[in-house]
Structure formats: structure tokens, C-alpha cells
Symmetry: C2
Subunit: 251 residues, 2 copies
DNA sequence: CTGGCGTTTTGATCTGGGTCAAAGCCCCGG
DNA sequence: CCGGGGCTTTGACCCAGATCAAAACGCCAG
């Protein structure tokens, strides 16, 4: 799910937000200009709603910086996160009028948006945009299926280890310019509260807290403050996650 | 996830299997002819493997009749179903060389396949195929996210009711030609063993059995034999599923 | 009709993670 | 420096669903 493609493209996309994975990896300059004309930015503070499930959604876009999450909520308040949107991820569905999920800014967030109608028109005329979007959606589908295994069959400890692994990988993919390898300790900041982690993993926040403590006591990770994580041995963490070996950075 | 689109298209696709949702909803006749040239059929018996995770996968295709399932298995044998492929559903991923999941024929199964390379070439030249595939993939992604809520937050009873609801809906969508409505009792056959249901829902087969018994005792469903299900009141079943009201047949 | 095998049900018991409750920690504003 | 509110941790207890075990139900082959 984090394959060489995302790496390549994030490298192509340093400057212009509309070159983010979403649409532009193969755009010609005239297409880029057309996109420039219909794009605009939106900023959100941590905790703000980007859109409510069921609301009219007249834009699509991609995350420029920060983190957003997609969540579903049942009438009695049980909530499940169903997507974690990191920089370069795409939001919104061409061809659908209303939002299917709540979208929340988990941290301060900047999005690059396109009004839906012009974007759809452009998509109709520019075949590779649909192709690119298809690739991205297939990646997301794979990620979702990976999560179904986590949610359905893993223990609390494995769930936490899985989440840490994913965040570490995404973080690595964003930060490493060249192939700085998987060796040595890995360090990153948790962008999620315990509650958000619980919502992602189908656990309670108490269980999340207990399992993080347990992983710390067992030396799998160490913490500075509540959020700053060091993973001395990534292999070990991935074993704890029950992950199908293979490492997977750039598979 | 079961919207008017799938209904419309299944209506367009009565005769030719390659017109199944996958690729042909908007094909011109010359495109259909080209597709005819590269398609072939494969048949499987119930229980047979279609492909193993990690194997080279040189085709894509769609289910013509029967049911296939996508599953993931951990080293210690825990397995999670991550996709249930009913007639008209698409299998395989353009642009990927190896299968990411085990694909198993859950019942006797007929698939209509295309060798991957010619199909990809055709996709490159025929923009609406990518667009169509994008729509389908987005539908699947929505279904996957719905399942994440089921797996992460629902009780065993709600899980069973959710699965029954989905099967009933899909079955209705396949069978009803016109809008035969949601009124009256709904009858269908369970295409899955208790074990397969358990794998779908992240439960054990014993729990599945117990919960089905409980739903029967409470009059939510009734059974003839082990597999033939009657739902006297669909509304009631959906309440049990904890579903966000709205009915959803044709939403 | 009988035996055997795969599926399903039912029972008894155990336990991982949920629930409820109470501190502890940390940062920010006054 | 103090107080308050949002996170986070920790503890005590409980229960939904897992696990282990055995019986019942088809159903087909002989």
C-alpha cells in the first residue's frame, strides 16, 4: 500500500500542491495551467470539521499539509475512523453529490481544492486523470482491506503495533528524499490522540493507552512525552504487528 | 454502496458476460468486438482456489455466476475475508503483477477473464473504461469502509444482521427486474457457510451460529434448513444491524 | 439401511478488552 | 504561581465473545 509510486510522485510534487498525487503526476503544462485556474486553498484548525456526512460536497481536493480523518458514526455515538488522510491523499468522489463520511481536521490542515464540476469536466477530457485517480483509489482499497484484517482479527497489541508501523512508514515515505534505508532507530511524532487511535483501531482509548504502555515496558518502542516515539528496531515492531513479514517499504 | 448505478448496469448486461459492470456499460460496438477477441471463460468448483496471494496474476475479469471471496491469512492461520465477489463484480488490478489476496470460489463459479496486457492496452486507448473502473472501485471502497464500521464497532448480533441485510440487498438487486419494492417478506439463500460468515465478520463460527439462532428465536428471521432464509420484516432486520436508517435500496 | 464426513448446533468455561472511576500530567491564561 | 481543562494513565471489575468439547444433522456412497 505504500509502494514506490507514492514515493516517486511525492518527489515530483514538491512545489505545486496541485501536483500532489491526486491529478498531476503526468500533466502536461497546458493541463497544469487549466488546473491552476480552478484550484483554491482551504485551511482548517485542528479539530475543525471539514464536512459533515450527508452534506452537499461541491469540491474535491487533496491534502497539502496536516492530517484529516474520515469517520463514520452510529446513532448511539460509536464511531469508527475509516480513512486517514495524509499529505498528498485525495478527498472526495467525482460523481457524488454528498459526502459519505465526516471529514475532520485532526491537526491543522491545508487542502488544495477544485470545484467539483470543472474538475469533472476536466477529468472527462483528460484521460490520464481518471487513470491516475483509479490507481490511487486502488491503493486506498488495498489499505482499507489491510485494515479489515487489523479490525477483524488482530489483538489489541497487534493493532497498536500495526498502526505505529503504518505511521512510521508513511512518515518515512514523506521525509526520506533518497532511499535512506530501513536501518537504525526510527523516530516520529504521533499525529493522533489516544482517542483517535482508538477510533481507528476499533478499541477504547483506555486499551490504547494500556497497550502503548505495555509496548514501552517491553522495549518495543520508547516515548518522550506522550507523542514522540522512537522505534529502536522496526523489524521487532512489525513482528508485534503480526505483519506478513516482507518489510514492505517499497514493495 | 448499492446505488442506482449497479442496478441500471446490471439491466444492461443481461446477455453478454463481458458487458458486466466491469467494462462495458458504455462500450461502442467496435469496442465490444475488440473485447470479444480477448476474453475467455474460467470455471471453478465450490472450494477451489482461483488464485493464491502472491502468485503471478496475468488476468483480470468479472464474476459471471457464483460467488468468490477475497481473503487474507496471517501466519498463524487467522483469516479475514476482505471482499465478497458477486456476479458482475470485478477481480484483479490493472497495473499489478501479483495477486494481493487469496481468491476462493465460495460456490461453483464462472468468471469472464481478459488477459491483463491486452486489457491494459485497451484501457489506455479507451478512456471510459478507466472511468468505469474508477466508479466501480470507488463503490468497492465505500463497501470496504462500511465493513470497517461493522468489524470495528458492531456487536456480534449487529454483525450478523448487517451481513444478512447486505446479502438480501444484493440478491434483490440481482433478481428484481423492475422496482419490485421493499415491501413484503424477503426470501433468499445464504451462499456462505457459517465459517465463511465468521471470516467475513471477524467472529468465530460458533458465535455466528448462536447469533443466527438468537435472531430466529426473536422472530427477526426464519430458516428452512440451514441456508434458506426468510426475512418477514426488512426494516426490523436493518434496525438490528444498527444501520443508519434510510433503507438504502436505491439511495 | 448403514457408516462416514462435513457442517451446524449446543454446552461449559475462560479471558481480552470494555466499562466505570479516579488520579496524574501538561499546557496555557490570568 | 495558581487553577482549569484537555489529554493520558492506572486500577478494579465485568461481560461478550472466544475456546474447548461433544452431540446432532444432513447427505452421499456403498
Amino acid at each position: 500500500m505504500f509502494n514506490e509510486r507514492s514515493l516517486t510522485i511525492s518527489q515530483e510534487c514538491e512545489e505545486c500542491p496541485i501536483r500532489h498525487r491526486a491529478v498531476c503526476a503526468r500533466c502536461e503544462t497546458d493541463e497544469l495551467e487549466r488546473l491552476e485556474q480552478i484550484k483554491y486553498y482551504r485551511k482548517f484548525e485542528a479539530g475543525q470539521m471539514v464536512i459533515w456526512s450527508g452534506d452537499k460536497m461541491d469540491f474535491v481536493g487533496s491534502v497539502v499539509s496536516g492530517i484529516a480523518s474520515l469517520t463514520q458514526t452510529m446513532e448511539d455515538g460509536r464511531t469508527q475512523m475509516v480513512g486517514l488522510l495524509l499529505p498528498s491523499d485525495f478527498v472526495g468522489r467525482p460523481g457524488r453529490a454528498t459526502a459519505a463520511y465526516d471529514v475532520v481536521a485532526t491537526t491543522d490542515l491545508v487542502m488544495c481544492c477544485f470545484r467539483k464540476t470543472p474538475f469533472e469536466e476536466m477529468m472527462a477530457n483528460t484521460p490520464h486523470i481518471a487513470q491516475r485517480l483509479l490507481e490511487m483509489t486502488l491503493d486506498e482499497l488495498d489499505a482499507a482491506r489491510e485494515w479489515m484484517l487489523v479490525l477483524g482479527r488482530k489483538t489489541a497489541r497487534e493493532k497498536i503495533a500495526s498502526l505505529l508501523t503504518i505511521i512510521a512508514r508513511r512518515d518515512a515515505t514523506l521525509h526520506l528524499k533518497a532511499g535512506s534505508g530501513i536501518e537504525g532507530p526510527i523516530v516520529f511524532d504521533l499525529p493522533l490522540t489516544r482517542e483517535a487511535m482508538a477510533d481507528y483501531l476499533g478499541l477504547t482509548l483506555e486499551t490504547v493507552s494500556r497497550q502503548i504502555t505495555a509496548l514501552r515496558k517491553d522495549g518495543v518502542i520508547s516515548l518522550e512525552g506522550k507523542r514522540h516515539v522512537t522505534v529502536p528496531d522496526m523489524e521487532r515492531l512489525m513482528e508485534e504487528a503480526g505483519d506478513d513479514s516482507d518489510g514492505g517499504l517499497l514493495v
